[in-house]
């Protein structure tokens, strides 16, 4: 057994349908456990964890100190009561968290899947699935474990999967089973399958799998191409069968979800530093007082021995000083407040609930409310300086809509009038029974043009219905479903369908369409496939009349060069249109066609065949061949597709920029698409001085591109510097940087990263395209390292997980299919636009509240504790407390806890809509103005000042004062009660001053605390308790004896005035002399509700929602973007992806053998495009497939 286990570390052996055999290896089963405790282990484990916190251990240490009689200056309960309270609150919170983890574990583990057991399919819970089982997956089901694909209902053992949960990409990927198992179609055959898989042990590499299948004495190599990983969803495949290789915690998905790093906020870190300082301060106080004790014992105490002899063990003053040090550590420990951490947790929990409850962050479309998944980061939301955003699914909805087009110089679709009423959506059904009812278009003119039979329009849509690689499926007559490789193509073909040119079906050699109700079958002569260098694709078809025609669609930059010279005029009009579309952030394609004569076709066909068969440089030869025929085309027009943004994205980005938050887009998508989105969400504008594009492939080129960007920026800045000094900042902000993944890899190297950061941070917008998930995290880490700024990462897919985890705050977009990002995130909500509310409202408030809370908290503890220090000088440094021990126990947890908690939870300076109107209000958080070391020193200085007043005012008054019946007031208990009462009143007045927003709770808690102080004090000083425990309740009668004396109240009033009046005066003067924006707003609201606006000055540039249509610069920019990948043309002409039933030519399939999938794969790897210069879109990039096919 040991031997097998050892071997299982090096390799994994799985035998299909043989549970006994597989059990020998003790592989993990498919049950997932993310919870930490069960009922029995909760108490010990939780307590153990809690005592790992330094603060808790410290208080435990104090407790032990207090049990030593020589040291104990305070009863043990003064520490144990708060400690128990703190521990139990935390334990309750941990228990609740773990309960929810148990719940979600159960939910996942109890999902059903169909397992092949003894030849029949049985429903099993996910957790009961074992390694070696064969399970059946149906369309749209989640894959339950890491499977080896055995067979599928699709031909050739193909199946399609969506890997959104794993890598965030929504396009489908193809998986194919090993050919021998592909034939095992039905359960009976599979039940007898007894192959054995030997493969690598569990690991977290999503893109790699290496193994061998041994079956019937033959070996078959297995790769990642044969695997279905847990977390994927089966798509477009009726069903498939897979063999479980890795289950539960061994799956690649779980292996990747490493232990979440515990995130701490900067306030947390500051707090820890401050607590350490306070600790140092405490030790200093202890030392000072211990030295005082030594001196006192030597000079005074030794003489006083006739009345108070030294304890036998304490026979000299040095030892006495040593003990006194520890005694003072005990009584001064309240400067390091035990309830600080738990109070902070409670406040954050409150803020988290406010986020969860916010109706304005509720998305009714997907019925999802915002969720604060971490309750420890809220105030950091008020300090964010950098936002790293994913594109697809976050900024965009990943929905493409056919928005506008230009046909023969006439533009259609321009009906959106921002002021007018919502234009009517066109109804296609009366005109075309095959129309897709979901398709939206608003411009009637286009439909009219089709109806009247405009030739250009017809040719335009004919092109769209023919030139693509979409597959169709017609389940019943007229019920067409398109399977498009890219959403762009889907949108275009659907547009053609609705305008009467319906693509019905295709075979490797034909395309059948219904044109204006008439079925036409074209023979498909060739597909000149798309790739990123060509930036275009063409088809050559022969129509039923025998006319041969080449239809081409592609990037305007490429296509317009290849037009026949007679198109000059049309070209310039269309260019203008393209320009317009591009400026609106639409993705454009130009369309052209060319009629070919039979001879031309024959000639070219021959050369094409030659190129195709070439063994060396096939790519180049094919490209050259394609190039030859795609000449002298006639321009048809252009299409503009809108990559639909999420609601309110441009407004949100604009608002966040006004709040001085820098937004970087990190996307795995292509450069063109990324840039396009940059424009459509107004991150990039045509007004920008320069958009730097860094696309180099070598260290040198990247460095050079970065340098030239710096130089360019400097020149611009220098020029304006001479002209206008104050505009320097403004000018230097108007740059944008676009960097692609391979360049980023170089830029992130140690010697260049500083240069990169400085350049990138000087730019107003940064877009990183084609970045891998790892690079996303690296970029975030880079900014964290170099800028010391708070970062926020927002994304929706599993490819964003790394970035979400490494940023200070991770936000997941919820309400979509993939939940990986949400699971890794700290906050989740359904719409990007909620980010503004999360940051500017909730974050800002949280930060403000937390800062006010901390300031007050440190203040009140210093005011409370330092009185002991001053008293030390008058009581022989004997660690005599000033207050009653019950007062010390209850001060932090009862008398002063709730008002400050209420402030920390409910306080507001300006209402939420103001925070959104004046994004500048966010700045104090970014600059960390409200709580920093300076503020801390101010707080503790105020606290120490208060303690001085609280000690010396009663000292001066009471030392000679007497009651009106002549009894002196200078006894210890009267002094204690007076000081304590004064303290409670002073800190209550102070919290009343600090509270800016008096809700009913604040009133309740502030008045309640003062009330409870008097009530509890009278109770503790009552006869009843004294009669039960005479030894504990020694203060019997002190309350009534003291508080009936007018002198005592005069003392308290004097102390309060001396403490509060300077604070009040200081605040008033500060408000007048150095008002903050929020102060001004509050006052303004009070003075003139809705009156004259001082906002203009604060508000920065212009209105947020102002559109910038028509504000186009002169520079021309291509709006071309097409998220298509290469290789599908060949797939179609090979007929591999078509069902046998739909194949007209059965033998066609054998023609290209199985080379297509090889080609697909090769294309991903051996592409090294040339380097382009800085200022043009290089466009020459790795094929997206590199990333996508990785799975």
């Amino acid at each position: 057994l040991v031997c097998t286990r050892k071997r299982s570390l090096e390799e994994r052996r799985v035998k299909a349908n043989d549970r006994e055999h597989n059990e020998k290896f003790q592989y993990a089963n498919n049950c997932i456990v993310t919870s930490k405790y069960n009922i029995l282990t909760f108490l010990p484990v939780n307590l153990f964890e809690q005592f790992q916190e330094v603060a808790n251990t410290y208080f435990l240490f104090l407790l032990i100190l207090q049990l030593i009689p020589q040291i104990s200056s305070l009863s043990w309960f003064t520490t144990i009561v708060p400690l128990a309270l703190v521990l139990s609150i935390t334990a309750v919170k941990d228990a609740t968290d773990d309960y929810f983890r148990h719940k979600s574990d159960n939910q996942v583990n109890n999902r059903q899947s169909q397992v092949l057991i003894r030849g029949s399919l049985q429903n099993e819970k996910w957790m009961n699935v074992k390694v070696g089982d064969i399970i059946k997956l149906e369309n749209n089901q989640f894959v339950a474990a890491d499977l080896l694909l055995l067979s599928s209902t699709e031909p050739h053992g193909l199946c399609y999967i969506e890997t959104a949960e794993l890598d965030g990409e929504t396009n489908m990927k193809v998986r194919q089973s090993v050919s021998v198992t592909a034939e095992l179609g039905d359960p009976n055959n599979l039940a007898s399958f007894d192959g054995e898989v030997v493969c690598e042990p569990p690991n977290n590499k999503l893109d790699r799998f290496c193994g061998t299948l041994y079956w019937r004495e033959k070996k078959y190599p297995l790769t990642n191409q044969n695997m279905l990983l847990r977390g994927c969803v089966l798509r477009n495949t009726e069903a498939c069968y897979g063999l479980v290789i890795f289950a539960g915690p061994d799956t690649k998905l779980m292996q990747n979800s490493g232990r979440t790093k515990f995130k701490r906020t900067s306030i947390d870190r500051l707090m820890n530093t401050l607590v350490l300082w306070i600790f140092g301060f405490l030790v200093c106080m202890g030392v000072i007082l211990a030295v005082g004790n030594a001196v006192w014992e030597r000079e005074v105490g030794s003489l006083f021995q006739s009345y108070l002899p030294w304890d036998p063990p304490v026979d000299n003053f040095m030892f006495s000083a040593f003990l006194s040090f520890w005694s003072y550590i005990i009584i001064l420990n309240t400067v390091v407040p035990i309830s600080l951490y738990v109070s902070v947790e409670v406040i954050r929990l409150g803020h988290s609930y406010f986020i969860n409850w916010d109706r304005q962050m509720f998305c009714s479309r997907c019925n999802t409310a915002a969720e604060s998944r971490t309750t420890t980061l809220n105030e950091e939301l008020g300090q964010v300086e950098y936002i790293f955003s994913d594109k697809t699914g976050t900024l965009t909805q990943n929905i493409m809509t056919f928005n506008k087009c230009s046909i023969n110089g006439q533009t259609y679709g321009e009906v959106t009038d921002p002021l007018g009423k919502q234009p009517k959506r066109l109804d296609f059904t009366p005109f075309n029974p095959l129309a897709n009812p979901d398709f939206c278009f608003y411009d009637e003119k286009l439909l009219e043009s089709v109806k009247v039979g405009d030739l250009h329009t017809h040719e335009f849509f004919r092109l769209l219905s023919l030139c693509h690689t979409v597959m169709s499926e017609e389940k019943s007559e007229g019920e067409l479903v398109y399977k498009a490789q890219s959403p762009d193509e889907g949108a275009l073909v659907t547009a053609a369908r609705n305008f009467g040119f319906v693509f019905r079906s295709r075979t490797p050699g034909t395309i059948t369409t219904t044109e204006m109700g008439r079925t036409v079958t074209y023979s498909l002569l060739a597909i000149l496939d798309f790739n990123n260098i060509r930036k275009r694709m063409s088809v050559i078809v022969r129509n039923p009349e025998g006319r041969i025609c080449l239809y081409c669609k592609g990037a305007d930059t490429v296509l317009l060069e290849r037009l026949h010279p007679c198109n000059q005029e049309l070209m310039s009009i269309t260019s203008d249109h393209l320009n317009e579309y591009g400026a609106d952030g639409l993705r454009t394609l130009a369309l052209a066609y060319r009629e070919l004569s039979e001879d031309e076709w024959e000639a070219w066909s021959e050369s094409h065949r030659c190129a195709d068969k070439a063994t060396d440089c096939r790519e180049d030869r094919l490209a050259a061949a394609y190039d030859k025929i795609e000449q002298d085309m006639k321009l048809l027009g252009a299409t503009a597709i809108e990559d639909k943004l999420q609601e309110g994205v441009p407004e949100t980005i604009a608002l966040l920029s006004l709040a001085n938050i820098k937004i970087w887009v990190l996307t795995g998508d292509k450069q063109e698409t990324a840039v396009n989105i940059g424009y459509s969400c107004k991150m990039l504008t045509d007004d920008m001085t320069e958009v730097f594009i860094i696309g180099g492939h070598t260290v040198q080129s990247v460095r050079q591109e970065l340098r030239s960007a710096v130089v360019c920026r400097l020149q611009n800045t220098a020029g304006s510097f001479r002209k206008m000094r104050q505009k320097l900042l403004y000018i230097s902000g108007e740059f944008a940087l676009i960097i692609s993944g391979h360049s980023l890899a170089h830029a992130l190297e140690a010697d260049m990263e500083a240069e990169f950061v400085s350049t990138a941070c000087a730019c107003k917008a940064v877009i990183c395209c084609r970045v891998t998930p790892l690079q996303k995290a690296q970029v975030v880490e880079l900014i964290k390292k170099h800028k010391k700024a708070v970062t926020l990462a927002i994304g929706d897919g599993a490819n964003d997980v790394s970035m979400i985890k490494s940023a200070h705050i991770g936000v997941g977009i919820s309400g979509q299919e993939g939940i990986q990002a949400v699971l890794a995130s700290d906050y989740s909500f359904a719409q990007f636009r909620f980010l503004q509310r999360l940051l500017l409202v909730h974050g800002r408030w949280s930060y403000l509240r937390m800062c006010r809370f901390l300031c007050y908290f440190f203040y009140k503890n210093f005011a409370f504790t330092m009185v002991h220090f001053w008293f030390g000088f008058f009581c022989g440094f004997s660690a005599q407390t000033v207050y009653d021990q019950f007062f010390i126990t209850l001060y932090n947890i009862v008398y002063t806890s709730l008002p400050v908690l209420a402030m920390g939870v409910f306080d507001q300076d300006v209402p939420d809509h103001r925070s959104l109107e004046y994004p500048k209000l966010y700045e104090p958080g970014q600059l960390n103005l409200l709580f920093n070391k300076k503020e801390f020193f101010i707080c503790i200085t105020q606290g120490i000042y208060t303690s001085v007043v609280l000690f010396f005012v009663p000292y001066a008054v009471l030392s000679d004062a007497t009651q009106s019946n002549g009894v002196p007031l200078a006894d210890y208990q009267t002094f204690a009660v007076t000081t304590a009462t004064a303290l409670v009143i002073v800190v209550s007045v102070q919290i009343a001053l600090d509270t800016g927003f008096w809700t009913v709770f604040n009133h309740m808690f502030v008045w309640g605390s003062v009330g409870s102080y008097f009530t509890i004090m009278f109770a503790l000083h009552s006869q009843t308790l004294f009669r039960i425990f005479p030894n504990q309740f020694r203060f019997i009668g002190s309350a009534q004896n003291t508080l009936l004396q007018p002198v005592v109240w005069l003392t308290i009033a004097l102390a309060t005035a001396v403490c509060v009046v300077p604070v009040l005066a200081f605040r008033f003067l500060k408000l007048d002399l150095k008002p903050q924006l929020s102060d001004t707003l509050v006052r303004q609201k009070r003075r003139k509700p809705g009156g004259r606006s001082i906002g203009g000055a604060w508000r920065g540039t212009g209105s947020v929602s102002e559109g910038r249509l028509g504000a186009r610069g002169g520079s021309r920019r291509s709006g071309y973007a097409f998220s298509h990948q290469e290789g599908f043309g060949e797939l179609i002409t090979s007929g591999k992806n078509m069902r046998l039933s739909s194949l007209a030519l059965a033998n066609f399939a054998s023609k290209h053998s199985s080379s297509w999938i090889e080609t697909l794969r090769r294309k991903k790897t051996n592409h090294t495009p040339p380097i382009k210069s800085v200022s043009c879109f290089s466009g020459v990039c790795f094929s997206l497939i590199i990333l996508r096919s990785a799975l």
Binding site: V300, F304, S306, Y307, L308, P309, D311, P312, S327, Y353, F354, N356, W357, R359, F362, T368, W845, C875, G876, S878, A879, Q880, F906, V957, S959, D960, T962, S964, N965, G966, V967, P968, A970, D971, Y972, F975, G996, W998, T999, Q1023, F1026, R1027, P1030, N1031, G1037, Q1040, N1041, Q1045, P1046, L1050, T1051, L1054, A1057, V1058, V1061, L1064, A1065, F1068, D1072, R1083
Partner: protein, 339 residues
């Protein structure tokens, strides 16, 4: 559809003022129209109270007599280091009528009743009359828990052991004849101390309760003989004992010894010469302490207290000054805003 709506509403957060953070609230603002008048008001009030306190305090008479005897000229010099019974007397004169009721205090300086161990060195259960603690006093009392023969001490502890035991008589010289001023020792301790906190065990005679216990080592006589004339002033509820046991907060303190409320002196001490005779028992020389006797009368606000009145006047004046400063600043700020 209906079902959908229901489901939808199940996820939508409640629309309450609390969850949406729209609770009605009062937002106080430190506006000039509130702060400046408030400062003026506070200032005026403090000055008013301060003046009243100052005047009241000024009218209170106080006579202090240091009888430590550090000075070799002092009549008590001889008793300073004497361990035997020693008596000394001091004379003093009162120029005008010392208005009654007059309170007679003794005072000690440099005496640390507020020392933690000193203060803790007692057993409240014992003092509450609990006989269990007579035989086994709390260890808090160490080293005055048991005597050398291991007999329990009652009352135990340093605090009780060090009870002040000087006694005073005050005589008024009327026409060359010494007339004893009667001193009233009733009700000089807190009511709660006398009635609740301290209790004699309910055994009569009291002496029986103390069988098997020892008196504190420094004491000349046991606690049940503190006042043999009055059972209600004997044992733990002896007023002098109670006064001593209520420990002082500060090292310089005075404690009430007697009231002068009887006979001819109810209205006060007439002008004239007085003699204070001290039974000097309590040594303070070893720790450089001072002993004094204080005669004082009181007002509604207690004894003489100049500090309180002055402090009130100062704070009040500061408030007024501050309000002027704020007014100036505010005015300038306003002009600045108008520009």
């Amino acid at each position: 559809m209906v079902k959908e709506e229901q489901e939808e509403s199940s996820n939508r957060p409640d629309n309450t003022a609390f969850t949406q953070q729209r609770l009605p609230a009062w937002q106080p603002i430190l506006s000039a129209s509130i702060v400046i008048p408030m400062f003026v008001l506070i200032g005026a009030a403090f000055i008013g109270v301060g003046v009243a306190l100052f005047i009241t305090s000024r009218d209170i008479q106080l006579q202090e007599l240091d009888y430590t005897g550090d000075d070799s000229e002092h009549p008590c010099f001889k008793c300073r280091t004497n361990t035997e019974k020693c008596t000394c007397s001091m004379t003093f004169s009162i120029p005008t009528l010392f208005k009654g009721p007059v309170f007679f205090y003794y005072g000690l300086t440099n005496y640390f009743q507020n020392q933690r161990k000193y203060g803790a060195s007692k057993d409240d259960n014992q003092l509450y009359g609990d006989l269990n603690y007579f035989t086994s006093p709390s260890t808090d009392c160490d080293p005055y828990t048991r005597d050398s023969k291991n007999m329990p001490i009652v009352p135990c502890g340093a605090l009780a052991n060090s009870m002040f035991n000087d006694t005073f008589t005050l005589s008024h010289t009327v026409n060359g004849v010494q007339k004893i001023v009667p001193l009233d020792g009733k009700g000089i301790a807190w009511w709660t101390d006398y009635n609740i906190k301290y209790r004699n065990p309910s055994i009569t005679p009291l002496i029986n309760a103390f069988n098997g216990t020892k008196k504190p080592t420094n004491w000349p006589k046991p606690i049940y003989e503190l006042d043999t004339t009055d059972v209600y002033n004997n044992g733990f509820i002896n007023q002098d004992f109670l006064v001593w046991m209520r420990r002082a907060a500060l090292p310089d303190f005075r404690k009430l010894y007697r009231r002068i409320t009887h006979d001819d002196y109810a209205a006060g001490l007439p002008a004239g010469n007085y003699t204070l005779t001290i039974a000097y028992n309590y040594p303070v020389h070893s720790f450089n302490g001072k002993k004094k006797v204080v005669l004082s009368n009181v007002s509604w606000m207690g004894g003489k207290n100049d500090f309180l009145g002055i402090a009130y006047i100062v704070v009040g004046s500061m408030c007024v000054v501050m309000s002027i400063v704020m007014l100036i600043v505010y005015a300038r700020f306003k002009f600045g805003e108008d520009d």
